[in-house]
Amino acid sequence: MNGLRFDSADLLLIRWQIVLFVICCTLVTGVYLTVGYMEAQASQELQQANSAFERTRSSVELIEEEEATIIENIDEYRVLMARDILEPEDRLQFLEDLAVIRDELQLFPINLSIESQFRERLAYPQSISSGGPIDLASSEISLNMPLLHEEDFVRFFDAIYNNGGLFQIRECLLSLRNSGATRFITLQQHMSIDCTLVHYSYDLNPQVEQPGMLGANNGSR
């Protein structure tokens, strides 16, 4: 509008149009923002609903898997509990039990040495979902003793295995003391055993440390 200037009286003539324009601007801005907010809220609500659905479905699947896992393992786990495998190693009790076994089986003296305990954290394999830390502790027990008869050997290990705890024979040698002997009526030390056993126990509530550090210490507790 070159050379044409409007004064307030002119603007008053189109005041309602200006008011309408301002209202429309406000309305349009309001609608724009409101619809944008509404879109975001609806999208968020949908995402939340989808997440809740996935979460619930996963929870159902997880609880079903957990239930199946428990049903599958609970009996064996109870056996492990009953055999004190899930308890910390009690060497004093082991020696006591060994003395009782020897006494009951009327065995010759037993030479025994227990190495320091080795402890290592179990890692969860891919087939098992990760859980809390569990340490597997093991102690090597070396023992040797003379035997009257090989039956003593069988009964001794039977008693050890049934006494409780998880034992594994790593190596064991049963040998005749006198390979030329043909008569075993005499009550004497006809045989001897020299064995190395491993006694395993679990620590279900270990200190939360790095497995590497535990392995590096490699000592008993």
Binding site: G3, L13, I14, Q17, L20, F21, C25, L27, V28, G36, M38, E39, A42, S43, E45, L46, Q48, A49, F53, T56, R57, E67, T69, I70, I71, N73, E76, Y77, L86, F118, E120, R121, L122, I128, G131, G132, I134, S138, V154, D158, Y161, F167, Q168, I169, R170, C172, L173, L174, S175, L176, S179, G180, T182, V198, Y200, Y202, L204, P211, G212, G215
Partner: protein
């Protein structure tokens, strides 16, 4: 009516002796009133305006006092051209604000200046009282133009805009006689005179004679080249055939009857108000707005305000339409999302119920299930490689029953490690780094790399021959192999193996032959 046509308008035709008022509405031109062009009519005119304040106003000056001048200016542009043209107008038409200037063409020779047409309504007093009354009422003056420029638009509307030389002759009933010369569709000259028809002369011949005079004038003024073709377009209240007879000798012509044209135009006239200019207006308003020629900007203030007002309304409507257009899909999407969310929530409910049911019946567990599984599976792995002395003694005893002359001197149990298939493979149950002998042994357990082995040493007795001792050992080996718990039996040493790379020890006496043997038995491992 086209989109570019006039929608509504109050049209004021100012003539030398009267002022005609017309309204254009809904594509029809209505003749409303006629006022004498004097001061007494102004009051009535003002009251008339009060009833039509919302209409945009078009003022058409159909007066004698319109001047057309030609000049040339240096070929400049922008503000320089504007300044030169203003200066020219100020020089030529100092006494009137109703003036205009436009570049017609550029000269082809010499300094190649721009040729300019300057025109003005040289007697502004004829318009100003009427214009003043309109402006006082804040009415929007859209256009102030003249009959000559209306005829220019009419020519364009009739498809005559490209005619090189065109003379439009319009005759009113009161013998007001206007001749407008257009060159390539642009008005170059227009003159109003009275048509004097001599006795015994037909109106057509009289008009024809008048046009010959105008032609001579145009040729003298060098607006029209000598002997160039001039096309005539005649609008008159006379019979069309009579006019055609008069113009038959000309190069090119068309004669139209005003009354005939009025019948085919959107007109509602009262009384004796029909005029050629009104017919022309009715012809062009439906398809084109009348361009402003003479109204200065200040006079058009309320028209500009009106356009601003219309612009604001249009912008408001466009914004509303735009936001609806832009955001309607968003609203639909939002509702769709909400609907889907409701559906998903409804689909979640059965799972929630199932979860609650499963939670209620969930068995009591001392430790989390995954920890339990880890403990149980690792313990079973260890137990898998735990040799049962009773079982192996039974196996050996059963096998030995068929070879009574054999004496076992030692039995050695061991769990042997086999080398890992891939040394770099990660231990699934323990750390990868070497933790010593126990760690390696443990890793071998979890990687199923242990083989339970029994090494049996004994002595074969035979009172007669080594062969019998050999047979007894073979029988013992076969019996061991037949046992389900035995995987493999390897003969390390036999009584009769006397090859140079083995050792043989025996007691040779009177009673019997004695020879040692060694067997390695590999036990089966439950898978």
């Amino acid at each position: 009516m086209t989109l570019s046509g006039q929608r509504k308008a109050l049209i004021i035709i100012v003539k030398d002796n009267e002022v005609q008022i017309l309204t254009w509405d809904k594509g029809v031109l209505n003749h409303n009133a006629v006022f004498a062009a004097d001061e007494h009519s102004l009051g009535v005119f003002g009251r008339f305006l009060d009833n039509h304040r919302d209409l945009p106003v078009i003022i058409i000056a159909d007066v004698i006092e319109e001047s057309f001048r030609y000049d040339s200016i240096a070929h400049v542009s922008g503000s320089d051209r504007k300044a030169i043209l203003n200066r020219k107008m100020e020089y030529l038409f100092r006494d009137t604000v109703y003036r205009t200037a436009k570049i017609i063409e550029r000269e082809t020779a010499g300094r190649r200046n721009d040729k300019v047409l300057l025109s003005a309504l040289t007697k502004p007093d004829q318009l100003e009282p009427w214009v003043k009354l309109v402006v006082e009422r804040n009415m929007a003056i859209q256009t102030i133009t003249s009959a000559a420029y209306v005829i220019e638009q009419y020519a364009a509307n009739r498809g005559l805009g490209k005619t090189e030389n065109l003379l439009i002759v319009s005759l009113e009933k009161g013998s007001s006689f206007r001749q407008t010369y257009l060159q390539n569709g642009k008005v170059m000259f227009s003159r109003v005179s009275r048509l004097e028809i001599a006795e015994g002369t037909s109106p057509g011949i009289a008009i024809r004679n008048e046009t010959l005079q105008v032609r001579k004038y145009l040729e003298r003024a060098r607006l029209l080249r000598m002997n160039s073709q001039l096309r005539f377009h005649v609008l008159s209240p006379f019979e069309q055939s009579e006019m055609e007879t008069a113009f038959r000798a000309t190069d090119s012509f068309e004669c139209l009857s005003t009354e005939e044209e009025a019948r085919h135009s959107p007109l509602e006239l009262h009384g004796n108000s029909l005029s050629t200019l009104i017919v022309i207006l009715a012809k062009i308003l439906g398809s084109k707005r009348l361009a402003n020629i003479y109204a200065p900007l200040e006079t058009r203030r309320y028209h500009v305000l009106r356009r601003v007002s219309q612009g604001l309304i249009a912008a408001s409507a466009a914004m509303l339409a735009g936001v609806v257009f832009m955001k309607a899909p968003g609203v639909l999407d939002a509702f769709s999302d909400l609907e889907r969310a409701e559906q998903v929530t409804a689909n979640t409910a059965p799972y929630t119920n199932e979860y609650e049911t499963l939670s209620l019946r969930f068995p009591e567990t001392p430790i989390p299930p995954n920890e339990m599984e880890l403990v149980v599976t690792s313990a079973l792995k260890i137990q898998k490689y735990s040799i049962e002395p009773l079982e192996t003694m039974n196996t050996i005893g059963s096998a030995l029953a068929q070879s009574s002359d054999l004496q076992i001197t030692s039995i050695a149990w061991s769990v042997e490690e086999t080398p890992p298939p891939n040394a770099a493979r990660r231990d699934p149950y323990g750390p990868a780094q070497d933790q010593g002998q126990q760690s390696q042994f443990r890793r071998a357990i979890f990687e199923d790399r242990l083989v339970p082995t029994i090494t049996i040493q004994g002595i074969a007795y035979s009172p007669r021959s080594y062969r019998e001792a050999q047979i007894q050992v073979d029988t013992f080996v076969e019996a061991l192999r037949d046992d389900d718990r035995v995987d493999r039996v390897l003969t390390i040493q036999l009584p009769t193996n006397v090859s140079s790379d083995t050792s043989v020890s025996t007691t040779v006496d009177d009673a019997e032959l004695r020879a040692s043997f060694t067997l390695e038995v590999t036990l089966k491992v439950d898978s």
